[in-house]
């Protein structure tokens, strides 16, 4: 007979555990944002420690300049401090919300730089720069399982789709600019980007599963 002490408790397997983990992460982030909205600086500090690296990594990848990335990082968390009371967990996850703030500020910086010529040559140059960063980044830093999964998913997309997606998201190219650079219809580019985002999302979901 198995006593309570002898009972083996099976922990939730793979996907469920991952899902629970993700849910707990989201809840913790949301809790911290609530604290920030109430003026709790310790909550901001905690959120910075939890998500700062991810946001900083995104900014470095977008701006390709550590100094600018640091400045935008600072601006991002100041904006988080100011706008935390506007965050609505029903609309988006805390990470998405913070990523979009950071991305928006980074795109402002990119636009403030010299005007981009949306030529095919410029398109190729940007794509090449993204690839170089990828290689260098993987050598330098540790990556957790989720980050590896994301990178794998991104690399697993069809080449044209992955390129268009990264330029649109990381470098702020408009659909029209991408269409003009690669010489394809606007509708094709729009669909390509949309499907790429959904495909990534699905891949992550499948990873959990």
């Amino acid at each position: 007979m198995e006593t309570a002490e002898n009972q083996t408790v099976d922990l939730p397997s793979g996907s469920l555990r991952e899902e629970l983990h993700d849910v707990m992460e989201v809840r913790e982030d949301a809790r911290l944002l609530t604290g920030i909205a109430e003026g709790d600086q310790r909550a901001l500090s905690a959120l910075y420690r939890r998500r700062g690296s991810l946001i900083y990594s995104l900014l470095v990848r977008m701006l390709v300049n550590e100094m600018e990335a640091q400045e935008v990082m600072q601006d991002t968390f100041v904006q988080v401090w100011r706008r935390a009371h506007k965050f609505d967990v029903s609309r988006s996850s805390p990470m998405s919300w913070m990523f979009m703030i950071a991305r928006g500020l980074a795109l402002d910086r990119l636009r403030a730089r010299s005007r981009r010529s949306a030529t095919h040559a410029a398109f190729e140059r940007e794509v090449a720069s993204l690839e170089v960063e990828e290689i260098n980044g993987s050598r330098q830093t540790e990556r957790d399982e989720l980050a590896v999964a994301c990178a794998t998913a991104l690399n697993g997309l069809p080449e044209e789709q992955g390129r268009a997606l990264q330029l649109a998201f990381l470098r702020g190219w408009t659909h029209e600019e991408i269409a003009g650079a690669v010489g394809e219809p606007l509708g094709t580019i729009k669909a390509r980007i949309r499907r790429g985002l959904l495909a990534l999302r699905k891949t992550l979901k499948d990873h959990h599963d």
Binding site: S93, S96, M100, F169, H175, I193, L198, L200, R201
Partner: protein, 404 residues
């Protein structure tokens, strides 16, 4: 399908931040109404997050967090400071003081508005109000005070301006004076430099002259070539001046005995006292010079046989007794001065049997003069050998070291 695609397109644009403010507001209004749309947006956002999380991870330096803390702290400060300022203001007596002042002003205005003339212009200048019309004394006084204070302040300003102007004028005058002084100094220095350059160039020049007749004006310019013996003597004199030829023991002791070179060197040293020739000699010398000037042809003696070397301001005259110009045993005199001013005996030497070079070292720099060379022959005759221009004025020298 089309609607779905356009909704999906809009959702993508929304997630990528590609909407205008108006479009965003409209889409968010749609979001609020459609759960399906919210789900789509959420899924697209998660895909975008995946792109972000695929970036190579880096850690921001510590100073980034320090900057965030500082920015947040600065945001919090002003609100606190502003409220504390006003609270302090209220707690202090300033509020009461201001209230009293406002009350007084209102009283003045009301009193003033009681007069019909001043109704439209309660605080008017005194000028616009005729006397005796019932203007409030308080307003008049206030206006007077205001005017006088403004006058005082304008007077103070004018006074300060005047003082500044005067100080500036004085400064300008001093600067102009100083400028004039400096210009004078520059001019003087230029003159001195020019003079020095001339003198240096003069003294550094190596000139070979001939002891010319008085009729030639003592210019000494000639094409006559000295004899080999005299050339040798001059070259040795040059070497001696340059220090290449060390004086022997006899020369050092003051005598001028023949040295190894076979040339006698006589250096006439300066005399502290002027030695003016006796009157008779002066007359004789003068007469001789006059005769030389009047002579149709220059003296054969002076023309060709007595070269003069001027080097570093020192004048060296070479005599060769063998050519008959100055026989052995003749006493050769060296004079400076003019007929008008009188002649001064600088020094003399008795000609020996060897070639002799007589040198004069000037005492000071100055304008040039003329050196007149005479000799008393063994027979007692007195002749003027010639004259040579000097680069500098010679002070009278002591006759010394005559050859026995």
């Amino acid at each position: 399908m089309t609607n779905l695609h356009s909704l999906e397109d809009e959702a993508t644009l929304y997630v990528l931040g590609r909407m205008t403010e108006v479009e965003r507001a409209e889409f968010e209004a749609s979001l609020a109404e459609s759960a399906e749309l919210r789900t789509l947006v959420r899924e697209l956002e998660e895909g975008a997050v995946a792109i972000a999380m695929a970036s190579p991870q880096r850690r921001a330096p510590q100073r980034v967090w320090a900057g965030i803390e500082k920015a947040i702290a600065e945001e919090a400060k002003p609100r606190v400071m502003k409220s504390s300022f006003w609270m302090a203001w209220l707690r202090s007596g300033w509020a009461a003081t201001t209230a009293c002042l406002i009350g007084w002003l209102l009283y003045a205005v009301l009193m003033e508005s009681g007069s019909p003339k001043m109704a439209s212009n309660p605080i008017a200048s005194e000028i616009n109000v005729p006397r005796g019309e019932g203007v409030s004394d308080a307003v008049r006084t206030e206006t007077k005070v205001a005017k006088s204070s403004s006058e005082i302040s304008s007077n103070i300003d004018r006074g300060a301006l005047l003082t500044n102007l005067q100080a500036t004028t004085r400064e300008n005058s001093a600067l102009r004076f100083r400028k004039a002084q400096l210009e004078k100094e520059v001019t003087h220095l230029s003159q001195v430099v020019t003079q020095q350059q001339v003198l240096l160039s003069e003294s550094s020049r190596l000139k070979v002259l001939q002891l010319g007749p008085a009729s030639a004006g003592g210019l000494g310019a000639t094409n006559a070539i000295p004899s080999p013996e005299l050339q040798r003597a001059l070259l040795l004199a040059m070497a001696r001046e340059l220090g290449w030829l060390q004086p022997d023991e006899h020369e050092k002791s003051g005598s001028t005995l023949t040295n190894q070179t076979g040339v006698e060197f006589v250096d006439l040293h300066p005399n502290t006292n002027e030695t003016k020739a006796p009157f008779s000699q002066q007359m004789q010398l003068t007469q001789e010079l006059i005769d030389s000037e009047n002579s149709a042809s220059p003296s054969n003696i002076a023309e060709s046989e007595i070269p003069v070397l001027v080097m570093d301001g020192k004048t060296m005259i070479a005599f060769d007794p063998s050519n008959g110009a100055v026989p052995t045993g003749s006493e050769v005199g060296f004079w400076t001065g003019t007929t008008a001013e009188g002649f001064h005996l600088v020094g003399s030497t008795t000609m020996g049997s060897s070639t002799t070079v007589v040198g004069f070292q000037p005492m000071s720099l100055g304008s040039g003069g003329t050196l007149t060379v005479t000799f008393h022959g063994p027979s007692g005759s007195f002749n003027v050998l010639g004259q040579v221009p000097l680069p500098v004025t010679l002070v009278p020298l002591e006759p010394q070291n005559t050859v026995p």
